[in-house]
Symmetry: C2
Subunit: 286 residues, 2 copies
């Protein structure tokens, strides 16, 4: 199967599951369910849950077995976007070309919709215990709580908000936590719940760290190249291109992708899909 077909198939699987897992819009209180659904759908590329499914498959499991967890990871990503967009944080009026959650539903509902998505995510993680060994699921819940807490995603966001001038190591640390920690956890989700060996879990975790950082650097590059944003003064200060210039940033992203792919050698031919995902992250082709 070619890469585009693989992606489309997995995306469909994830979207259908998300439709099922999220409360109906008609269910009261309607407004919060509308807010949740309208941020989750149509959504982005579903990179994070696809990473989880691909990691499960590479360690020899079935992607159906980790589907609730993959969806939980997408809900966690969505919650973080809703809260990040709030006026008190990044103050973004638009998300993926549409009004952000607080613009469409008000700040109160946006805060609660984020809370509800995070809560539902943990509900889905526990539900995955019906398909995978319960002890393994419970262990993974501890892992994810760590990855998205103040040592991980939330901590990165705090430092991003509160740091005025950052050095390279500080910027890398922010990126690793704010974006990288959740992405690494997606790989670990598939690897751990899919029953991978310790060696496989570690390789996928290292792959995740590298593609996670590369993803954020590419994001910074795309932002820097977006002349409209630069003119409007929206260019972020704490970014790779701002610190190193575009050329060095491009080189760093390419290096990280190469390193990520080298982690896959233990999987032989089975590593192909994750190699292609790494290339996609570098090029943002899909």
């Amino acid at each position: 199967m070619d890469f585009q077909a693989y992606w489309d198939e997995k995306r469909k699987l994830i979207d259908e599951a998300l439709v099922e897992y999220l409360p109906q819009e008609s269910e009261p209180p309607e407004i919060i369910h509308r807010a949740m659904r309208s941020t989750v759908f149509p959504g982005g590329k579903r990179l994070r849950p696809i990473l989880a499914l691909a990691a499960a498959e590479i360690v020899g499991s079935d992607s159906q077995k980790v589907l609730p967890t993959a969806c939980a990871l997408e809900l966690i990503h969505t919650y973080s976007l809703i809260h990040d967009d709030l006026p008190a944080l990044d103050n973004d009026d638009y998300r993926r070309g549409r009004p952000s959650c607080h613009k469409a539903f008000g700040e109160d509902i946006a805060i609660l919709a984020g809370d509800a998505l995070l809560t539902l995510a943990f509900g889905l993680l526990s539900y995955n215990g019906q398909m995978v060994k319960k002890g393994t699921v419970l262990f993974f819940i501890g892992e994810i709580a760590q990855a998205i807490g103040t040592q991980g995603m939330i901590g990165g966001q705090v430092d991003d908000l509160k740091s005025e001038e950052v050095t390279q190591p500080q910027l890398e640390s922010i990126h690793r936590r704010k974006t990288g920690a959740l992405m690494e956890t997606c790989l670990k989700a598939g690897a751990i719940l899919g029953g991978g060996s310790q060696r496989e879990i570690e390789a996928l975790s290292h792959y995740g760290q590298r593609v996670g950082l590369a993803f954020q650097i590419v994001d910074d590059i795309l932002d820097a190249e977006d002349t409209k944003k630069v003119e409007a003064g929206e260019k972020r200060e704490a970014s790779y291109p701002a610190l190193f210039g575009l050329e060095k940033s491009e080189k760093k992203a390419t290096e990280l992708i190469k390193e990520a792919k080298s982690q896959l050698s233990i999987f032989g031919k089975k590593g192909k899909i994750l190699e292609e995902i790494a290339d996609f992250i570098r090029g943002r082709g899909i």
Copy 2:
């Protein structure tokens, strides 16, 4: 042991555990850890975790075995207070006589501190799997996600924010979800993780529903009697006294407490502490 001594002992146990479970203030990013700790400590009466410990003991378990979960319930309560206090929601500048989290640390940090407490709570719930059967803990994580999601606590908060005029059944439904669902879950936490029988879990769950609603009615009564708040126009519209008057509200609270205590008959003499807690909720004596 008399009731006050029991309460003091449990409160100490919970506070010591919370001190251990929460990240140190000196740990970076310091600001969010300061925000989390300064809202959790000194905190309130610790009613919710004490209900969990008492429920575990009444079904014959050791309160130490459910301590991480009891603390998680307190963190969930604290997260909900921080987010409820935000300007976009209830806009409360004070909490327990001190500046609320967003007044002390800014809205951005308050939003993230709430998120972090909720996340840490799920981490603690999973950690409880080291002391209690993992399948039981996983089942309870599903229960709590339901109780504090849009069918429970968050749903009640949405309806409280969005309902202008409410009828008695609507008000009761808001109270049951906004305050009652978490309190009922505290009882279930102790009962389920403590290894209670189905009959014991149900009795404690029914007890929890009744004390949860009574708690909110008493809260409304205390608010209505607080002349300063009434003069400042802060009296909530959607309250029992506003709908029924003080006398009927007092009667309803007393009835609920009586019903709650009657659920404890199956426990015989062991029910004494939970009876006293019910009386305390009615009188707010401690």
